[in-house]
């Protein structure tokens, strides 16, 4: 068993920042990650970090843009924390040596991004995430923070009270990928989940193969509600054959979208008469697919993104990485021809329900970054708002977990305040196959002390590993691809009831197949077959919660579009969707959005660009 004050699960942007903050606040902190930190997918972020750094700008404007971008499903206390603290966090990165792009006067550059009223996106070429990830890992090395890399966290060690709000998290169970050892990691103060995205739920995604939403699924099964899971961002410019991301920075610098007729459709077909290509991401993605669906796509699949007119010098200075990506992964030369692009899964706005300190409803369990939902992005995330979320909420969760007093949070978690049950009946069974199991946390009923809870969790994990290795059965890969396919077919940019229902029953089938899953590689050394098999369970649980939310929410808000009700329906739907695992029998419920900021109320307005 390993023991630390604070355990951070995941070592991307949010995890690294959380670890640094916890250590600065005096905690003995360790990171546990299935990848070495520099392999994390934060490194693939391209565009930039929104921060109101300049006199002509203000954090209040940034907050206004973010609330509008969220289609009024962001919670004001979280949004305001993000916008208020992003500038100091960006400057801190600069002080840690991050190589930002520069202006002639030597100050960091900022560029326009979609949905922003001021060019406040700070960047380092088109490789901002790579530079941010490496800069923060350098700080972790400098501080000598312990990193258990290539340890896959299998589960949380949580007590098993009936009400999740009474439960406590005492640590995690890790599986050492190099040796096959299963071991407990005891966290004296807290566990911070920073496991990133869940893009592998879909088959055309900008996310890494490792982005299987492990932390999200673990928290869900332990009793933490999943918030706004139906809100998935489909990025309008991904390469058709691989899903590799082409940064919004291309459009920020002046790149133009054309259909097969050579029309600049964002304007010519009236999708966004003011902002054109720089409208919010959901708007542009729907526009592209509408063009393709109406026969104006190229090869019936994609549209063109043209940046040739920007000139070689500007492209090389600010977007060089894009040239390499288009060349290596699509065979297109961005200097001499337009690049083919289509929408692809990019980001999950929803996730583990937290307050603005990163706390979940379970005592001692935190979440930060893409896996968490505070919520700052609501129904749609603005470009350039993901990276500041990592550093602002990573820092906040780290400090709080280390015991710093941050005052009472304004956002309530769990079923407190004005929550309401959903009156939606799902036609297929959802949740654990065979109905309600033992309490997900399942402390074995006897264990109440921290060490006992952890030891019981380790035993269960060990048993699971032995079972998967010993029995014969189905390989997980076909189950995973079945889930990815049905999600991409029906829970995509355009959603309608029959398709969503079909997916829910496909998922049921996949769940039943997963009952017979087995690992054919018997090795204890670097058994990726085993790791992927465990990840596929996480993908299943997440896909189901996501589809449940998508079915129930009959309106069009931000990234979520429903054929049956193509308007934003504030009267009925100005509220968060929550799904609780409920020990294997998932339940859907709602809670109000907080539009009340520190000094102002954010009045829902028509979101036009």
């Amino acid at each position: 068993m390993y023991e630390h004050d604070v355990i951070v699960v995941g070592a991307g942007g949010a995890g690294l920042r959380a670890a640094i903050a916890a250590q600065e606040a005096g905690a003995d902190v360790a990171m546990v990650s299935k990848l070495h930190p520099v392999r994390s997918h934060t490194g693939a972020a391209e565009g930039g970090i929104n921060a109101a750094l300049r006199d002509a700008d203000s954090w209040e404007d940034h907050a206004y843009d973010t609330m509008k971008g969220s289609d009024y499903l962001g919670d004001a206390p979280a949004v305001e924390a993000l916008c208020r603290e992003s500038p100091e966090e960006v400057i801190r990165l600069e002080h840690w040596g991050m190589p930002f792009s520069r202006e002639d006067d030597g100050r960091v550059s900022q560029r326009p991004f979609g949905g922003l009223s001021f060019p406040r996106t700070t960047y380092a070429g088109a490789e901002t995430g790579h530079q941010m990830l490496h800069t923060m890992y350098e700080q972790v090395v400098k501080r000598g923070i312990t990193v258990y890399d290539e340890w896959h966290v299998m589960d949380l060690a949580v007590t098993d009270e009936d009400d999740p709000a009474d439960r406590t998290c005492h640590g995690v169970v890790g599986y050492d990928i190099q040796t096959g050892e299963v071991s407990g990691f005891r966290a004296e103060n807290g566990v911070i989940l920073a496991t990133g995205g869940m893009g592998q739920v879909f088959d055309h995604t900008t996310n890494a193969v490792a982005n299987t939403g492990d932390g999200v699924a673990m928290a869900y099964r332990a009793g933490v509600p999943m918030e706004d899971m139906e809100f998935i961002q489909f990025h309008p410019t991904t390469l058709p054959s691989t899903g590799v991301l082409i940064s919004e920075g291309v459009r920020g610098e002046g790149g133009i979208l054309y259909n097969s007729e050579g029309e600049r459709f964002m304007f010519e077909h009236g999708y966004a008469n003011n902002d054109g290509e720089l409208a919010s991401r959901d708007v542009v993605s729907r526009a592209e697919l509408t063009e393709v669906n109406e026969g104006r796509g190229i090869e019936d699949e994609y549209v063109h993104l043209d940046m040739r007119h920007l000139g070689e010098e500007r492209i090389l200075d600010r977007l060089e990485n894009i040239l390499h990506l288009a060349e290596d992964f699509e065979g297109a030369d961005g200097l001499t021809e337009p690049m083919p692009v289509k929408p692809g899964q990019h980001y999950a706005m929803g996730g583990i329900e937290t307050n603005e300190h990163g706390e979940t409803v379970i005592d001692g369990l935190y979440a930060a970054g893409e896996c968490a939902c505070a919520s700052v992005h609501g129904a749609n995330r603005l470009g350039g708002n993901a990276l500041p979320e990592l550093i602002v909420f990573g820092k906040r969760a780290g400090r709080h977990a280390a015991g710093e007093d941050m005052g009472e949070a304004e956002i309530e978690t769990g079923r407190s305040g004005d929550w309401e049950p959903a009156d939606y009946e799902f036609e297929v069974e959802v949740g654990e196959t065979g109905g309600r199991g033992p309490a997900a946390a399942d402390g074995g009923a006897v264990a109440t002390d921290a060490d006992g809870v952890l030891a019981a969790a380790v035993d269960r994990a060990q048993e699971r590993v032995e079972t998967l290795l010993a029995r014969s059965g189905r390989n997980h890969a076909e189950i995973r691809s079945k889930v990815q396919k049905t999600m991409t077919d029906n829970v995509n940019v355009f959603r309608e009831e029959p398709g969503l229902k079909e997916t829910l029953s496909d998922l049921r089938e996949a769940r039943e197949e997963y009952q017979d899953v087995a690992v054919s590689d018997p090795s204890r050394t670097f058994n990726t077959d085993l790791i992927h098999t465990m990840e596929t369970r996480n993908i299943l649980d997440i896909a189901e919660a996501l589809t449940m939310g998508a079915l129930a929410r009959r309106e069009f808000r931000g990234a979520h579009w429903r054929k049956e009700n193509q308007i934003r329906d504030d009267e009925n739907w100005l509220k968060h969707t929550l799904v609780s695992w409920n020990d294997g029998e998932p339940e859907l419920w709602y809670k109000p959005v907080i539009l009340e900021g520190e000094n102002k109320e954010y009045e829902p307005k028509n979101r036009s660009y």
């Binding site: 520099v38 693939a44 840690w96 190099q178 193969v209 590799v244 990506l325 290596d328 670097f526």
Partner: protein, 296 residues
């Protein structure tokens, strides 16, 4: 160049004694392995037939090794036939082989877009990132091996610890003695200076350069191209200031530092991010000489 398998005389006897307690499980597993092997052979035979009939199939010869699995303790090559699709990379072909024929085929990979640095391998005799190497550009059969000059853990996975230690030996973090006064005040950096360090900041820690370097192969303590490049990234960054630069030059001038480099350019040739590693090492040598003259 040779692929290094760790010494394992003791280990193999250990793995033989361990399973006694779980003999039933062992039997089941053995049975399972037999069946899995049969299934694999059947599918492979099908693909081989297809291959004979259809030219659009890629033949991969993949290095296999597992220290604890009978039949894999002696390194061998397995052949996989993969249906070719336009734009297919070596990583795509490996993933197809794993998901279709043999789920125990093991390799590191994550981002699929040449930024996480997980999948550097030895492909047809050269260090490459599997995800950005097009099958169409390679001669067949495509031979895929783990990176040379590193201990193999299993199949295509090598031990990265030594590489990480060298990276961390050069104080790979920003240092300065003076920050601007205002709390929200950034340090100034000229565009030219940012441009100067730009290529060096692109390193993704894939270790292809280290694997290609003859000097690193012969001198285990040599910092190697990636670590020296990391030192360059900071030494050339004007924000750190002269005093820190002094310290950085001392680090790279140590016995196993820049002077070991014999400018063979192998690191520069294999770098998937096109970092001019040899030039950076040469420039640090020049800086060091200038610096030494200054105090002479």
């Amino acid at each position: 160049m040779s692929t290094q398998i760790p010494q394992q005389t003791d280990e193999s006897s250990e793995t033989e004694t361990e399973p006694e307690a779980a003999s039933k499980g062992e039997e089941r597993r053995a049975e399972k392995r037999r069946r899995a092997a049969e299934e694999r052979e059947r599918r492979q035979a099908e693909e081989a037939e297809k291959a004979a009939a259809d030219e659009e199939t890629v033949e991969l010869k993949v290095f296999r090794y597992d220290p604890e699995i009978e039949g894999k303790q002696e390194p061998r090559f397995d052949t996989f036939h993969v249906p070719f699709t336009k734009g297919m990379t070596v990583l795509d072909a490996l993933m197809y082989s794993r998901d279709t024929y043999d789920s125990s085929l093991t390799f590191r990979h994550s981002c699929r877009q040449a930024v996480c640095g997980s999948d550097a391998m030895f492909v047809n005799g050269g260090q490459k990132l599997a995800c950005k190497t097009q099958i169409a550009d390679l001669e067949q059969p495509v031979r895929v091996e783990p990176l040379p000059h590193a201990d193999v853990r299993k199949d295509l996975v090598v031990d990265m610890e030594h590489f990480y230690e060298q990276m961390e030996a050069v104080e790979p973090y920003f240092q300065t003695n003076e920050y601007p006064d205002g709390e929200l005040e950034e340090q100034r950096q000229t565009r030219e200076n940012r441009e100067k360090v730009k290529m060096s900041t692109r390193c993704i820690w894939c270790s292809a350069c280290m694997s290609s370097c003859n000097i690193a192969a012969g001198d285990n303590e040599y910092l190697g191209p990636a670590a020296i490049n990391k030192a360059y990234r900071f030494a050339m960054d004007e924000r750190e200031g002269e005093e820190i630069k002094q310290k950085r030059l001392e680090i790279i001038e140590q016995e196993h530092g820049v002077w070991r480099c014999q400018t063979q350019f192998s690191c520069t040739e294999v770098c998937p991010k096109d970092i001019p590693l040899t030039e950076h090492i040469q420039e640090l040598k020049r800086e060091a000489v200038k610096n030494n003259l200054k105090f002479w």
